[in-house]
């Protein structure tokens, strides 16, 4: 039956590719549902100026480097330069990425100012932010912030930079360009989709081979492939089906690098201080800018982020433009969930659902917010019937609880499993 299946070799090739990919992904721990792989609540504050071990006079590309220090010029005409060749831009880029040795050390801007989308919280503004910010400003402003920084944080970070005027102009030129490009996405090399396609093809080929029985003399190979790919396909389908549209572990970058670990953890701000409507309303509410101002009217400098992030809040207030946060906890619209019910009536603590927010720099979604998750809690959570309301209407339960006839009343015992309590 060779004519129905001419390219025998492909089979071995595919098997090889598949198994190596499988190993690779299993090892890299990325073989999970789409949204579940982003929980890395690490604090990655990086305040460092790296020393390089590069040979003097050469950058990593082995190109000769001009000694910038010798070209220090106070000529302000340099700063007004507007036309750059592609060579200039490349040099600007290399300067930005610290590939040019300047003086006794190199300055890697990209080390602190991310040029890629990051999964973790980097306190420093990313490259796009600073680029956009300086799009309107001149190179002289950039020079000021690089060489003579004002804020305490900046003074510490931008200490001892030795950049020539031309370098600054070139960095600025690159930054202008970067503002148009934007951050690079970290694309996973091996996607689940690719794996699935490969597995499906293998599965199909092996099924055909089982029936036609021509290529492998030993059918056990086919059965092995069928079993492994079958399990893999089922597993990935099931995992994706369950996670589809769910956002467990969802930890998007926010427009302001707001850290719950700092506010709720270190500064011990009560959740209800900012999310004050949680006690009285269905929604916990995203705090209005004016609430931030309660503290940040005075606190203008953060220990780690400096003034940059706080300045955004102040700017939003000045411009009367609300900060557009990315919403993390989101129930479908056909679910009615009331914070008031759970926080005030049910006396559930915030962390029961939102996890240990006090340790999260970048907030992420802890539960998957599936209906099963809700119901599971309702099945196990005990109700405190001491509220007058319950005493009046659930007197039978209250009395038997007091008399010790029953040991507890669960939420399901007072209708916590009724469909119409949440869906209407």
């Amino acid at each position: 039956m060779r004519k129905y299946f001419p390219v025998v070799k492909i089979k071995y090739l595919l098997s090889l590719i598949f198994f190596s990919l499988l190993m690779a992904t299993v090892l890299s721990d990325s073989l999970q549902a789409t949204n579940t792989n982003k929980i890395q609540p690490k604090d990655t504050t990086r305040i460092q100026v790296k020393d390089t071990t590069k040979v003097h006079g050469k950058d990593s590309l082995n190109l000769p480097v001009k000694d910038s220090i010798s070209h220090v010029s106070s000529d302000s005409t340099i700063y007004k330069r507007t036309i750059f060749s592609s060579e200039d831009l490349r040099r600007g880029e290399r300067l930005f990425f610290g590939l040019v040795y300047l003086g006794d050390k190199s300055v890697n801007c990209a080390d602190c100012h991310n040029t890629r989308v990051s999964d973790t919280l980097n306190w420093n503004p990313d490259a796009l932010e600073i680029s956009r910010k300086y799009l309107e400003k001149s190179s002289l402003d950039l020079r000021k912030v690089l060489l003579k920084p004002a804020g305490p944080k900046m003074k510490q970070v931008h200490k001892g930079f030795q950049l020539g005027a031309e370098d600054i102009v070139l960095i600025k030129a690159y930054m202008n360009k970067f503002a148009g490009i934007g951050l690079k996405q970290n694309k996973p090399v091996i996607t689940n989709l690719l794996l699935l396609i490969v597995a499906s093809i293998l599965f199909l080929l092996s099924s055909i081979d089982v029936v036609i029985r021509k290529i492998y003399k030993d059918q056990r190979i086919n059965w092995a492939i069928l079993t492994v790919t079958g399990i893999f396909i089922t597993w990935i389908l099931a995992i994706n089906a369950i996670a589809f549209g769910r956002a467990k572990g969802y930890a998007p970058a926010q427009p302001i690098k707001f850290s719950h670990a700092v506010h709720a953890g270190q500064n011990k701000t009560d959740c209800n201080y900012c999310h004050y409507t949680a006690r009285t309303s269905k929604t916990a509410g995203i705090p209005a800018g004016s609430i931030c101002l309660n503290c940040h009217f005075l606190v203008r400098n953060g220990t780690r982020s400096g003034a940059t992030e706080i300045a955004k809040v102040l700017k939003a207030l000045d411009d009367k433009k609300p900060v557009k946060w990315v919403r993390i906890y989101k129930l479908p619209d056909f679910v009615f969930f009331s914070h008031e019910q759970h926080v005030s009536a049910g006396k559930i603590t915030c962390d029961a659902c939102h996890g240990n927010v006090k340790e999260m720099n970048r907030l992420y979604q802890v539960p998957d917010l599936s209906m099963g998750w809700c119901i599971d809690c309702h099945k196990t959570r005990k109700v405190n019937l001491s509220n007058e309301y319950y005493k009046t209407y659930y007197s039978d339960l209250y009395d038997s609880l007091k008399a010790g006839k029953i040991d507890s009343v669960r939420v399901t015992g007072i209708g916590g499993r009724d469909c119409g309590k949440c869906h209407y």
Binding site: M1, V211, I212, R213, K214, I375
Partner: protein, 169 residues
């Protein structure tokens, strides 16, 4: 299942074939198999094939299906997610009956067919080669097991001389 060496006796009708089977068995020849285009009446008895146990398997699986279906429904309505529906009690047996019955039939039916296919080693196989392509048309073949093909052939030929055979080889 097929021994390495056998002789085939061809007929074009089931009556002489049945006679031949009887004669061969009477003379203690070992009949590996009888191949026919349709189930020949009386052949089972002649070959004294034991009644298949497929129905027993069907019964067991049917019972399993019934228990699973009933148990599952009862579990769903009383333990997993009890819902008040139409004022009925959570555990209301009548409503579980239809599905229990259907699952019984499904389990029994599929298990019997599966047993049949497995026992008869029937499976999709593109490289299958029949013993003789005429068997499924109008040929009846008795396969006689043999160690020594030559002598058995002669023995069988003489044994079946009075019966209308087409070919013995």
């Amino acid at each position: 299942m097929r021994s390495s060496s056998y002789i085939s006796i061809y007929f074009d009708d089931e009556v002489p074939m049945l006679q031949a089977v009887k004669k061969l068995l009477d003379s203690k020849e070992k009949i590996t198999d009888v191949l026919s285009p349709f189930p020949v009446h009386g052949l089972d008895e002649a070959l004294s094939i034991k009644r298949s146990r497929i129905p027993i398997g069907g019964f067991i699986f049917g019972a399993l299906g019934a228990i699973l279906a009933f148990g599952f429904q009862a579990w769903v309505f009383t333990v997993s997610y009890p819902l008040i529906i139409g004022g009925k009690p959570f555990f209301s047996i009548p409503t579980f009956i239809p599905i229990t019955f259907e699952m019984t039939v499904l389990f029994a039916g599929l298990s019997m067919v599966a047993a049949f296919l497995i026992k008869s080693r029937l499976k999709p196989d593109i490289s299958f080669k029949p013993v003789d392509e005429r068997i499924t048309d109008d040929r009846f073949v008795i396969l006689v097991d043999t160690a020594d093909k030559e002598s058995t052939l002669n023995r069988v030929k003489s044994l079946l001389s009075g019966i209308h055979t087409l070919e013995i080889r």
